[in-house]
């Protein structure tokens, strides 16, 4: 049982406790119990438990979106997820997944920068994705709007012998660290190409199968 499961159980308990307290408050006649105690029940049932539940729910949601399944909830992401798990795919994402170079939360591993600001930025973008998804204000193939931070690659690769031995990496260290030159330029696409993800392409039907 990991932290995520513990939080989920805690959230469930808080919700149940809140419901019980609210129910007891509703069943209590005014004057039947001491006012301070009634106030405490009211405070716990109407304020503390919902706040606790909200905090836990937020944590649950945020943590849930770290998982690959969180991304797969929107069908426009299915091509990325299907490709990720395709043992025959040569995309960077699939190769990282296949080799277990990133062992958990594979999408988030490359799409959130370090630290809380990285998570915050990822959530902001995630909220933008959600807004566009729910309002249908997007077109396939979807295109990454922002500028990918090479730091997501460099946090693992920089400093390793295979990386440092490449003269071009040393030469382009500045532009790579500033994300002024994309790592993908030399190392190929991370995900299926736009052409593959365009409705009507030969790969589209396969890529849009619901991920298992």
């Amino acid at each position: 049982m990991d932290t995520f499961d513990l939080v989920r159980i805690a959230g469930t308990l808080i919700c149940l406790t809140g419901i019980v307290l609210c129910w007891r408050f509703a069943r209590t006649r005014v004057g039947a119990v001491a006012a301070p105690r009634l106030k405490a029940v009211a405070l716990a049932g109407f304020v503390a438990a919902p706040l606790g539940a909200l905090a836990v729910a937020n944590y649950h949601t945020f943590e849930g979106t770290h998982a690959v399944d969180g991304c797969a909830r929107c069908h426009v992401m299915w091509p990325m997820v299907n490709d990720l798990k395709d043992p025959a795919s040569d995309s960077l994402a699939a190769r990282h997944y296949r080799q277990a170079w990133i062992s958990t939360n594979e999408c988030y591993g490359c799409h959130a920068d370090y630290g809380w600001r990285g998570s915050l930025k990822a959530k902001m973008d995630g909220f933008r994705h959600l807004s566009r998804y729910t309002t249908g204000t997007y077109q396939e193939p979807i295109v990454f709007r922002g500028h990918f931070n090479n730091g997501n690659c460099l946090k693992c690769h920089a400093g390793t012998p295979p990386f440092e031995q490449v003269s071009s990496h040393r030469l382009a260290a500045r532009v790579l660290s500033e994300s002024a030159m994309s790592c993908l330029n030399c190392h190929g696409d991370a995900h299926p190409t736009r052409a593959q993800r365009t409705p009507g392409s030969s790969a589209y039907a396969h890529l849009m199968e619901k991920p298992r």
Partner: protein
């Protein structure tokens, strides 16, 4: 109304509150969405435009990102043939339009110094001097020296102006220095130039035979394609033949390092093994192949008899490769399900370059390793438009458009008809090839020349000899910068626009033509090379001949002309090229998808139905396997010059470094060194960093030493990018007798330590 409210159970006030709450919640959500749309950082560019890389012959598709009229990002185009992969040079295209030190105004040499001039002053001088030379010494006293980096429209126009206007065949260019051996080799074998296969064949090959090519450094996206194939199929075998242990060789399954200059022995020995072991495709040979000793047709038995002297055991000592390795290599080449051969300058930069090209094609023909996915001989090219712009337009001294030859009267008549000029307009005298052209400048046979988009002052072998020719000749140089090694010899220097500062078509190594659209205005007074040629045509009185004056008009004329040949690309309109990621010829109609594999039924529109494969370039519709004897190179090691010097590129830089050397992040690459084997270094008391003198029969220079095991004992390597080092001062100018391509890869030198 009050009754109605009571009946519905929703008092108006409550309803309004509820609606207000819903509106507020929606407003809050929309505001949040708007906030994150605003806060999430945008990409580096506002608009993205399809284009093509300016550097090597891979011809990668790129997406150019722009903001406020400036290039702000360059990415690989994932919809192009390169599937989004480019290299560090392509990535640095972002900085190319804004490099410092561009030539902004025309300049005229006065009292030994180049001074600013107007376009009219400069072009008037050019036209006057050209007219004077032609009047005094005839049209063959002027010349055009072009480039595999000009747009096709520019090379085509120059070719037409000089051949049909000025009436000289002195039209050549830097592809002579890199691709002539392949062009002649293909034409001899198939009757038509250019590879029959495509990059796509790498995706299907089980054996990838790379010879004389440092693909990892010189064509990185193609190497990445090789790696992709290996990742997809673990049984794929990559064999690299190279005297150096290049980064490509390091990554191969097998590295074969022959003695420099002997690799025709390897190819002939492989053919001998294939014949001896029956690893040939007799049915394919019977149906599609003819054998020739170079003069007469011979039979298969004569071919086998010729190969007897190349038994592996007979050649292994000279070749420096064991007989068992030769036999294994022959086996893998012949018996794999599909073999693709890739080669470039290690094969072409040789006095036996044509023979090597012939024999590489020959190995594929005798084993039937051609015309199937993954099976093809493929000459990789070094410049972005050497194929489409120069080989296909016939902008080489011996050639005419679409594979025609100056030496053939019928071909000259056909071109005269197509260009609408009187019979006899085209000279029957072949022009000077590159080496001869600069030699002719030195002895006065060529007195005025126009050089465009290339830097022969640095790139010619035996450089000092030919720089003297440039000094003597009235040299007009269209350039992007005022300080190239050629610009220093210019009498008139013309500021040229480049890449996305103009519009035109590049044709890369797999017969794919791609359009580069104009996205920026050129700096200062720079003009496109096409504008300069049109202006020159007008001033020389040939304006009526050069009727097409815009890139698209020239393209349409050239497109129509191609329809008279098997190079037919009439279906490639500008509109299609704008919409698509390049098209491969033949492509005769606007509905034709282009041809991935030439000579293959169902793909190539010129193959007769029912033939399967048809090598229609020769009248008998057969490809030719030549009996090509190994001849030792003119440069041989001796006690006085005991080391073979070979030259090449490094991954970050390109050619003579006039562009990459001005990109901030690339200019720090130091290529002023010579790399030599640790045994040779120890014998001479040399360690890395020591100053050494490199001396050949052609020149002497000093540079730094790098000691390495990547070259064999008796071999040294130097990059050719540095103008300060100018390694070509020591490089031989021996040429292949057929292609006239110089043997850059093999010069005997002495190396000794000197005081710093």
């Amino acid at each position: 109304m009050a009754d109605a409210d009571e009946r519905s159970g929703w008092p108006r006030r409550d309803l309004l509150r509820l609606l207000g709450g819903v509106a507020a919640a929606n407003g809050l959500g929309a505001a949040g969405w708007g906030a994150v749309e605003w806060l999430v950082p945008p990409a580096n560019a506002d608009t993205w435009h399809k284009s093509v890389c300016r550097f090597c012959g891979t011809g990668c598709g790129v997406m150019v990102g722009m903001r406020n009229g400036r290039v702000t990002d360059v990415r690989g185009d994932d919809q192009a043939h390169n599937a989004g992969v480019i290299c560090i040079k392509g990535s640095m295209l972002r900085d190319l339009p804004s490099i410092a030190g561009r030539l902004l105004t025309p300049k005229i040499r006065q009292s030994g110094r180049l001074v600013d001039a107007t376009w009219d002053e400069a072009m008037s001088l050019v036209a006057r001097r050209f007219r004077e030379v032609i009047a005094a010494s005839g049209p063959d006293a002027v010349a055009f020296y072009g480039s595999g980096q000009l747009f096709t429209e520019e090379s085509y126009t120059a070719n037409k102006l000089f051949r049909a206007g000025i009436r000289t065949n002195n039209v050549d260019g830097n592809p002579r220095l890199c691709m002539a051996a392949a062009a002649v080799g293909y034409t001899q074998v198939f009757g038509k130039d250019e590879p029959s296969g495509s990059y796509e064949d790498i995706d299907h090959a089980d054996c990838i035979f790379i010879i004389g090519s440092n693909l990892f450094e010189c064509h990185p996206p193609l190497w990445e394609r090789v790696e992709r194939r290996r990742r997809a199929a673990s049984h794929v075998r990559v064999i690299v033949v190279d005297p150096r242990r290049t980064p490509t060789a390091e990554r191969a399954d097998e590295h074969i390092a022959p003695v420099p200059g002997t690799d025709l022995l390897l190819l002939n020995a492989m053919a001998q093994v294939m014949c001896e072991t029956g690893s040939i495709d007799a049915a394919f040979i019977e149906r599609h192949v003819r054998f020739s000793d170079g003069t007469d047709t011979v039979d298969f038995q004569a071919f086998k008899a010729f190969l007897d002297r190349y038994r592996p055991e007979a050649v292994e000592a000279t070749l420096g490769v064991s007989a068992s390795v030769i036999r294994q290599t022959a086996f893998h080449f012949a018996r794999s399900a599909a073999t693709v051969s890739l080669w470039t300058m290690g094969v072409n930069h040789r006095t036996q370059g044509v023979f090597l090209n012939n024999m590489l094609c020959g190995l594929h023909l005798i084993t039937g390793q051609i015309g199937r996915p993954g099976a093809t001989p493929f000459s990789v090219t070094g410049q972005p438009n050497a194929c489409g712009g120069v080989r296909d337009t016939g902008a080489l001294a011996h050639a005419l458009p679409n594979g025609r030859l100056v030496a053939k009267p019928q071909h000259r008549r056909e071109v005269e008809d197509l260009w609408g000029v009187p019979p006899g307009t085209l000279s029957a005298t072949p022009g000077f090839d590159a080496v001869d052209m600069f030699g002719a400048m030195a002895d006065g046979r060529v007195q005025a020349a126009l050089v465009m988009c290339t830097n022969p002052g640095q790139s010619m072998p035996n450089a000092d000899k030919y720089r003297a020719g440039m000094e003597r000749c009235f040299l007009v140089v269209a350039e992007i910068c005022p300080d190239s090694e050629t610009a220093r010899y210019a009498d008139v220097l013309l500021p040229a626009s480049m890449w996305i500062e103009k519009e035109g078509v590049f044709g890369q190594g797999e017969r794919r033509y791609q359009l580069i659209e104009k996205l920026l205005d050129p700096p200062g007074q720079a003009r496109s090379d096409l504008q300069i040629l049109v202006d020159l045509a007008d001033r020389l009185g040939h304006g009526a001949l050069i009727r097409a004056r815009t890139p698209e008009a020239v393209w349409d004329e050239w497109r129509e002309m191609s329809a008279s040949s098997r190079y037919n690309f009439k279906g490639m309109t500008y509109a299609r090229l704008k919409a698509e990621r390049g098209l491969q010829w033949p492509c005769p109609t606007e509905s034709h998808p282009g041809t991935v594999r030439r000579y293959v039924e169902g793909d190539d529109p010129f193959v007769t139905k029912g033939r399967g494969i048809e090598f229609y370039g020769h009248p008998d519709k057969r490809a030719v396997v030549f009996l090509r004897p190994y001849v030792p190179a003119p440069e041989q090691r001796s006690p006085e010059a005991p080391i073979y010097l070979t030259t090449g590129r490094v991954i970050e830089l390109w050619h003579t470094n006039t562009m990459t050397g001005r990109v901030n992040d690339l200019r720090r690459v130091d290529t002023r060194f010579v790399e030599l084997n640790d045994v040779d270094a120890a014998e001479r008391g040399i360690v890395t960093g020591d100053k050494v003198e490199v001396a050949s029969a052609y020149g002497v220079l000093r540079t730094s030493a790098r000691v390495s095991a990547s070259v064999k004992p008796g071999v040294a390597f130097a990059p050719f990018h540095s103008a300060q080092l100018l390694i070509n001062r020591t490089v031989t100018d021996h040429v292949d007798p057929m292609s006239k391509e110089p043997e850059y890869k093999l010069t005997a030198v002495a190396i000794r330590k000197v005081r710093a």
